[in-house]
Symmetry: D2
Subunit: 163 residues, 4 copies
């Protein structure tokens, strides 16, 4: 079993721009690299970057490309890190893939923050993907769920089960 | 579904003693409390402390008590945080429980360290426990495995699959 | 001796906005509050917020108000946290104050980052202010200097001595 | 002006031992290395290790050697990182040096902890040493003071002014 991690951007990968007179966050190297380094993993894995975007800026074209990357991958277990605002939309686009287990996760606070949820969330995705049946899942706030069963609460930012 | 977290001690929960002329680590409040707080969890859970010991100091009596706590728990999904040196031994003691899903995890470096693997490891356990069949599992170094299938490598400290 | 800390904004105080579909930073509570809490300080101090701005957005009017706050303060030792891009400009505006010791500091990376320089920099300012003569100083990159003697290097972001 | 940093051990430099079946801390590479790296320092400095001991284990012989290192150093500004329990005793031993500015500092919690006071404390020492007259000083809990004027409070662990 080998896990493919795909970076798409989002809060989890935001770093602080160091450029002259710029004062903004920017999406940088995948948080997954740093998180796995601390974990001394024994699992077999590969990390790939699809794009580096705030999830509000992801286009239909981007999603097509992401679906294509997942379809062409030799791995059948894929963890995608993604911004939370359109995570469900990307999950929907991926739902035409029937023979792979794909878990989307992300973070409410950048991995570079000392009070980030990133390492835990990536852990949840990694733990879940090893025993889940093929399908598209969201792993946020400790809950692993088929993508259609949860949605982001606009007030709290949490992914909660649909009523 | 509700998850019961049980603290037994080990590296993951080590804090720094602040007492006069003492210069030692001590096992303090469960790391799980701090890790879940950052994750804004939507899962239902409870945290309980069985004991606070380095895993080399856990006795047969302690293990009996832990088995009893797990048997009497109303929850059938249990994550146990534990020192790594005797994690496999405790898993063996727990293996007489047939109707619950129990995942043991821990850390190579205390959760209080900024370069700890604790949050990721607890995440792996939480992600795995939601879809695993009843049984006793170890979740370390990114790998979730039936307890008999892995052992701690004395040189690297990693839990690797048995040959 | 009492130290007055004044927040003006800048990178040091940047936090991550948690609002719905926003993906930006915001200047939040003073980093000095969190830094001093860890230090268990025995010094006498007060923390005040003048404004919360990126230093590129600070106006002449803002600087006038900051000068006025410093002049009216009963404390004669003042540490100002400030964005780095116009730190020298604010120092110049403050230089009409002749009877107080004022040290400006800030950070290249937000205090919320685990790899921030914020705690060290604020420490340098606190250590310096206790023995410096009245005047306006900049404390960045480990160097404490009269404000006129250093400038920010646009390439490295460091405050280096003027040739 | 060049600053010499000397490691002697103590809480500030404590790391977690990774060896088989060991569950203890050990004094490792100087925290000053990691702290200065984040600060992108423009000051001229050198880091040297005298010994790596809990300060309760420092002998009269060790202190003689430390005094000798300070005397022979070409630098006349020296920051010593040290365990807090016998920091005052070492300061006393150093007090025969009359022509150098020496600041002792340390930490209540190891630099490897995300809630450590180490970076701030080293910052205070670095900020103070640049303008202090020759003498032996302690920089802890935000206060820079001639060594004779403070002592460690056995209840709180803070260095407070003597009555």
């Amino acid at each position: 079993m080998k896990i493919l991690f795909i970076q798409t951007g989002g809060t989890i990968d935001k770093d602080y721009a160091k450029v002259w007179q710029a004062y903004d966050f920017e999406i940088n190297t995948p948080a997954v690299v740093r998180i796995l380094k601390l974990a001394s993993p024994v699992i077999d894995y590969k990390i790939k970057s699809a794009f580096k975007k705030d999830s509000m800026d992801i286009t239909a074209q981007d999603r097509k490309r992401l679906v294509s990357i997942c379809q062409k991958a030799t791995e059948d277990r894929i963890v995608i890190t993604h911004g939370t605002d359109t995570m469900s939309k990307t999950a929907e686009a991926l739902s035409l893939i029937k023979d792979k287990t794909i878990v989307l996760t992300g973070a409410a606070r950048p991995e570079h923050f000392y009070d980030s949820d990133a390492a835990f969330n990536v852990g949840v995705a990694v733990g879940a993907i090893q025993s889940l049946q093929p399908g598209i899942y969201i792993a946020m706030n400790g809950l692993v769920s088929p993508w259609q069963a949860v949605k982001k609460n606009p007030d709290t930012g949490q992914f909660t089960p649909k009523a």
